[in-house]
Symmetry: C2
Subunit: 365 residues, 2 copies
């Protein structure tokens, strides 16, 4: 069994998980990190790293350059550096993790697994924004999409759950966590996704607005007197559930809604309506849908969100079973009725396992 260490380095955190095959040997999270090298050294000291075959690194933005998990060398590091303008918050932290791990484990192959890579199969008409083509090219503006390891993993597991060949299965995957995105996966390939150049676009999220009229930015600047930085902060940190309901945690939104809170009710309705619209949009893109799969914190744990997002879609052959949906199960499962033409699934995501799997694949294991 191959041992793979998966590292997910945030700006002030370090998440790690050591796999032996698909089994987790150890995992942990270090927070309030200011010295990545010291933090990682401490972690490595505690781990049994004999027979370590690879380190798999989560990298948020692969830009136009990386369409697959990639064995890391100096060139790869330089390219990830050049992508920092596309992901100024994430790529620098991911790079710090990579450089530290290469220093501390110089003999172990290191693999970068990109959040964007799974969406590199988007057809041009889905990846292209309708702006001046030369401006877009020069500034590398296109739809990249994110949560790719999650969408890939969940779509594959869905086919397995249905006992079908993944290459013949069309799935709409709904990753609903603090960040949230949807994807249309046609025979294993992403053909549509809701996040774009950045993780701000698309669904309503914990603190992010998702899609909105771009003119709102001009309006808030000119009429509202806000600076561009303030608007950026507004849309990323004070919007979404937090902006509408006053709180970003969906459990709290649901409990306030249950006790009649109007703002929480509206927030919930906006959140689920946006999901419903994207399900319809991706239904049209795919033409035929075999399954719709919910994953991540909200998707796995909220029967209320699942039921509301898919309410009224029997005309599309989508029918959630109230009892199955409400059952307090946790594993991979089907929550639609027997008669539902589209199977509605819940599949707990496991991005770290997927990173380990992909890292192993790069090394030919």
């Amino acid at each position: 069994m191959t041992r793979v260490l998966v590292l997910n380095t945030g700006s002030s955190s370090l998440k790690y998980r050591l796999f032996d095959g698909t089994d987790t040997v150890t995992k942990g999270l270090v927070e309030e990190v200011d010295d990545h090298q010291a933090a990682l050294r401490d972690v490595l000291r505690e781990l049994d790293l004999r027979n370590l075959d690879a380190v798999g690194h989560r990298v948020v933005h692969g830009g136009p350059d990386f369409t697959e998990p990639t064995l890391i060398d100096d060139d790869v590091v330089r390219t990830i550096e050049r992508l920092i303008p596309l992901a100024p918050l994430h790529n620098p932290a991911n790079l710090a993790g990579i450089e530290t791990a290469r220093k501390l484990l110089p003999d172990v192959p290191q693999v970068a697994v990109f959040d964007t890579a799974f969406h590199s199969t988007l057809p041009p008409e889905a990846a292209t924004y309708a702006i001046d083509a030369e401006t877009a090219r020069k500034n590398r503006v296109r739809r990249y999409g994110f949560h790719g390891t999650s969408h890939a993993y969940v779509a594959r597991r869905t086919a397995a759950l249905l006992g079908r060949d993944a290459g013949q299965t069309n799935v709409i995957t709904l990753h609903l966590g603090n960040g949230a995105s949807a994807a249309a996966v046609e025979g294993g390939r992403s053909v549509a996704t809701s996040m774009g150049l950045s993780p701000l676009e698309g669904l309503v999220m914990g603190t992010r607005s998702g899609s909105l009229d771009p003119a709102i930015i001009f309006h808030l600047h000119r009429v509202g007197g806000m600076s561009l930085d303030e608007i950026d902060e507004l849309l990323n940190k004070r919007s979404g559930m937090r902006g509408l309901a006053g709180v970003s945690d969906m459990r709290e939104v649901e409990s306030r809604r249950a006790s009649g809170d109007e703002a929480a009710t509206l927030a919930f309705d906006v959140y689920t309506r946006r999901i419903k619209e994207l399900v319809g949009a991706y239904y049209a893109v795919l033409g035929r849908v075999d399954a719709i799969t919910f994953t991540a914190g909200v998707g796995e744990n909220s029967p209320t969100v699942r039921a509301a997002a898919l309410a009224g879609l029997t005309g599309l052959g989508i029918e959630v079973d109230a009892d199955r949906n409400a059952a307090p199960e946790r594993g991979e499962r089907i929550v639609s009725t027997e008669g539902s033409r589209v199977v509605v699934c819940v599949v707990p995501t496991d991005e770290e396992l997927e990173i380990a799997t992909q890292a192993r694949a790069v090394l030919g294991g």
Copy 2:
């Protein structure tokens, strides 16, 4: 028969049409107007205005204040003035027309008909952007929607074409002109539409981008070094078909595409894909769709766009008939197959007739 004069005043143009009942007595367009009062005086001198019962004014933005066509008095003028920040390009010109007409025709009732009014029935979950609620309230940020007179007219005509009661008919209306928007009309009421705070959001247009990741604006500013005004100009004037294909006129895009031009082909694909996604989204919102109706310059005249936008949707019960769709007809017509569960229609829009009709309704005629 009641006579109504309809005025559509742009920043440098004046469009007029005199109705007798539903018949057009005269119409015309004055361009390069710099003195609205002089221009309108010239127009009025030429017209036979005996028995004029009303003047109907097109007003682009009714904001949160106007949900219906409204008899104009000083208060109404002041309110339209207060809405200028929401429509800095359009409302001032519309106001110039109103004030001039009131001066020149003081004894004739004047009615304002708003592009936004038809969408005032949007449910809160469709009208609300997921941003900080207090910031939105203070700056009057919500989805207003536009092309309302066109969507209203076309949805009603569609029900008539189908021989159905409009109050029982669900229609997806696709207004595809230089500007473009979609609406979901449920029993005569707008429940979803693609333009938002401004006419920039939604579908790809002649020179406008439609929806995009709001972070693209931050990126073009920070990384591309563009000012906010430059980005505004980019998204409104150098995007859409013009940005992708180099030309905004769909006829030219189609002819270049037909001769193998790659940029025009991509532009066409992006344009039609976005329509397809919205059709799916509004299908999900409506649950049951009776008809999909194309209107305005592109929608009425381009079988190629209609066919591409609805290709592959037989799973949704939507099937365009190749012969009917390609037939060189011009009137209200059905272009789907006999077997298509959803009837696909073409209905030439007539916003001025609708304004006359609504103005008359306000006056109880």
